[in-house]
């Protein structure tokens, strides 16, 4: 087995471990930290199913962002929805035989890849062109966008410009999943693509990419508006009542 295969296999296992452990740590931290007061941004749903619907609208449609900034919404939603399609398309490398819905989504995944890059470029453009957004941007904000753009471009390139050996690639990935490591096709574009994805997985739990789990734990969005009907009290606050 080549050095490259061993290197990439190790990188992937390492990145997957960091991602899983890091995300688990943050999610457990969010879940364990109490929300001592009822602070939903009102008008807010008065039932649990209403809250689920509110969160679903935020996750799927980016409702609040739509209210806030139309350009950011257009680019942001394009990127995220594109990424979603691309992720579905990539599932074909992980499962065998490939499920019918995943087979059907394949062509849309290609459009998703293009939409993703266009959306990302738009978001990067805003960081330079809008003075308020320029002011709040750190180097890491630009770098994460650059990383995602490079992942998208290298991926799209393999579809349109320099095809890679996807049969061998699937063997490699199936090998990772089943813990029987198979050789990785030594294609520079593919290697760059995979390396960047490894990087993305590793920084995920340490960066603003935590907005993904964060949304579900945001008290202004996930709380039911019923403070008069149900007493809401955190454990640490209950301690004050003894005194």
């Amino acid at each position: 087995m080549s050095f490259l295969t061993v290197l990439y296999a190790s990188l992937f296992y390492f990145a997957a471990a960091v991602l899983a452990a890091g995300l688990t740590y943050k999610i457990v931290q969010y879940a364990r930290t109490p929300a001592p007061l009822k602070i939903p941004t009102t008008p807010a749903p008065t039932t649990t199913s209403g809250v689920a619907f509110r969160l679903a609208r935020e996750v799927v449609l980016f409702e609040s962002l739509f209210k806030g900034s139309k350009w950011t919404w257009i680019f942001g939603w394009m990127f995220h929805f594109g990424l979603f399609l691309v992720t579905l398309r990539h599932l074909r490398y992980f499962i065998d035989p490939v499920w019918l819905p995943i087979q059907l989504v394949q062509p849309f995944g290609i459009y998703g890849g293009i939409a993703m890059v266009v959306g990302l470029v738009g978001l990067l453009g805003r960081r330079f062109l809008v003075d308020r957004v320029r002011y709040i941007s750190s180097p890491s904000d630009h770098l994460i966008l650059a990383l995602l753009i490079l992942i998208g471009l290298s991926g799209v390139m393999m579809t349109f410009v320099v095809h890679t050996d996807i049969v061998s690639l699937k063997h490699f990935i199936r090998g990772l999943v089943t813990f029987h490591v198979q050789p990785l096709p030594a294609d520079p574009v593919l290697m760059l693509h995979l390396l960047l994805v490894v990087g993305l997985m590793i920084i995920f739990p340490f960066s603003k990419l935590l907005h993904a789990p964060g949304l579900f734990f945001s008290p202004t969005r996930n709380q039911v508006d019923n403070p008069r009907e149900q007493r809401h009290i955190a454990d640490w606050a209950r301690g004050l009542e003894q005194s």
């Binding site: 935020e58 949304l215 969005r221 403070p227 008069r228």
Partner: protein, 510 residues
């Protein structure tokens, strides 16, 4: 109008987003609380030794106590959606008054001390040490946030800058850097029972005076009772209602509504304050201590219901937090929500046909309505979401013939703060108050020009005081701001009681 050393913004016809001008408000700082006032609240009197480590430790403690803080400091992606939403940014152009700019003052410290990326690559992720300069920025800019939550409406993750500025003030208090205005006032509540420091006898005199005024005006004896044990309703209202204009006209209105409802009620001299500045300084303990006074008053006076007068943040604390801080309320009448807003009570009576209203009594005014931020975005009235917008408007429409809303982008959940909320209603912050009022005054000015609006009604003591003070800076009259229950008071047709008829007979006999 006092002489000022700043430029009052010019009103635009269309909302304009200003270009960033760093540092325009860095000199704005409220007076620091003296040691004696800090002590009342359990805070050190002056900047403590080793303040930096103690502040970081306090931040760690709060991160473990408030999920909002932990999630919000992690989740921001700097998308920019909030950047043009804060009235203080729109009025001052200072980028540290953009919601994310304000949050980042804490986020950069959080990243430096609590995240791996900030510890090892501070420059890359915008992390910074907690230096004296950063602390000064905190003191300046966390006292330029009125905790109005407008930013939280537009944030894709619901990040609420109010949560961050409350935590920042709590951290600063814990190292001895408190704000004079808020902390002195909370001390007054502990010692005397209300923000203004009005003792029981003074309240009694004021209320007697009101009874006489209303009798002279209407010929009907309307009662304004204080500390009456066994009354059905305990009314908790901001102490400004006892004497400030136009607040007191609202209080007169509440009394008339209770009179028509035929229900006994009382004020309490012990809990003579609806406001709870414990929220502004982010101190759960102090907010709870203030709220507990209401529980004690309700028990001592053996009331069955609690009703709150017109006050924005007080209604947030009442509606959203009172059950948490001072509940459970199982000893009160379960047929009514605890607590109830005076607007809910008035609206219910209107629905039942128990109030006779003569709209023409307000024909000298063309009205608009200012949604107060804490009512709009942090509470509810009635049974359905959005009742906090519809119920006050229904009351206004029932009490006057001329009503027009301001631009849709500036009302309801998108309402602009008056500029004086969140503990900023103090003369040492006049510049930020005047500039922060700009977006609201702009929308008001537009309906004045287009619809001939003459008055703006509100249900918040801070809004009323703030507009009374800042409207003249924009060339408007201070009395253009009115209480919603002032309109009710004008329009209501009182039913004479038995005493009144007897008195009239006596007059005739004499």
């Amino acid at each position: 109008m006092a002489k000022v050393d700043f430029e009052v913004p010019e009103l635009d016809q269309y909302a304009r987003i200003p270009a960033v001008e760093p540092g325009t408000m860095s000199r704005s700082k409220p007076y620091v609380a003296k040691a004696e006032f800090q002590a009342d609240l359990g805070f050190p009197g002056e900047l403590v030794d080793d303040w930096q480590n103690k502040a970081i430790a306090k931040m760690g403690e709060l991160l473990g106590k408030y999920r909002s803080l932990q999630v919000y400091l992690d989740s921001c992606v700097k998308c920019g959606s909030c950047t043009d939403k804060c009235h203080y940014y729109l009025g001052t152009k200072d980028p540290k008054n953009m919601p994310v700019g304000r949050q980042d003052l804490m986020r950069k410290v959080y990243r430096r001390y609590f995240t791996l990326a900030g510890r090892y690559f501070p420059k890359l992720v915008g992390a910074e040490d907690f230096t004296k300069e950063v602390l000064d920025d905190w003191y300046s800019y966390y006292h330029q946030c009125s905790q109005c939550r407008r930013c939280s409406v537009f944030c894709p993750y619901g990040i609420d800058t109010a949560e961050i500025s409350m935590a920042a003030r709590e951290i600063m208090d814990s190292i001895g850097v408190g704000q004079k205005y808020c902390n002195e006032i909370i001390g007054k509540v502990y010692k005397i029972g209300n923000n203004l420091g009005l003792p029981g006898p003074a309240l009694g005199d004021t209320l007697e005076g009101l009874e006489e005024d209303v009798y002279d005006d209407t010929g009907v004896k309307v009662r304004y009772p204080l500390d009456e044990e066994g009354a059905e309703i305990l009314l908790i209202t901001p102490s400004a209602d006892f004497f400030a204009e136009p607040h007191v006209d609202g209080l007169i209105g509440y009394g008339k509504v209770f009179h028509e409802a035929g229900v006994s009620w009382t004020l309490s001299s012990y809990a003579s304050e609806a406001a709870n500045f414990g929220m502004f300084i982010g101190s759960y303990e102090n907010m709870r201590r203030v709220a507990q006074r209401i529980r004690k008053a309700a028990i001592d006076l053996k009331v069955k219901r609690i009703v709150f007068g017109e006050c924005g943040h007080a209604w947030r604390v009442a509606y959203s937090f009172l059950n948490t801080l001072a509940g459970p309320w199982d000893f009160l009448d379960p047929r009514y929500p605890v607590p109830q807003h005076i607007c809910e009570l008035t609206y219910d009576l209107m629905q039942q046909g128990k109030l006779k209203l003569d709209k023409s009594q307000n024909d000298d005014k063309v009205l608009t309505y200012h949604d107060s931020c804490n009512v709009a975005r942090a509470s509810r009235m009635g049974d359905t979401p959005g009742g906090q917008f519809d119920i006050p408007r229904a009351i206004i429409r029932a009490t006057c013939n001329n009503f027009y809303d301001m631009d849709e982008e500036t009302i309801r959940e998108r309402t602009f703060c008056c500029g004086g909320g969140g503990g900023l209603l103090t003369d040492d912050l006049m510049e930020v108050r005047v500039k922060g009022a700009k977006p609201r005054v702009e929308a008001l000015n537009n309906v004045m020009q287009e619809k001939g609006v003459t008055h703006m009604a509100a249900i918040c003591a801070i809004c009323k005081s703030q507009f009374t003070k800042v409207l003249p800076f924009y060339g408007m009259e201070m009395d253009q701001i009115v209480s919603v229950h002032q309109l009710v008071s004008n329009a209501i047709i009182l039913t004479p009681g038995e005493e009144d008829e007897a008195a009239e007979d006596a007059d005739e006999a004499a």
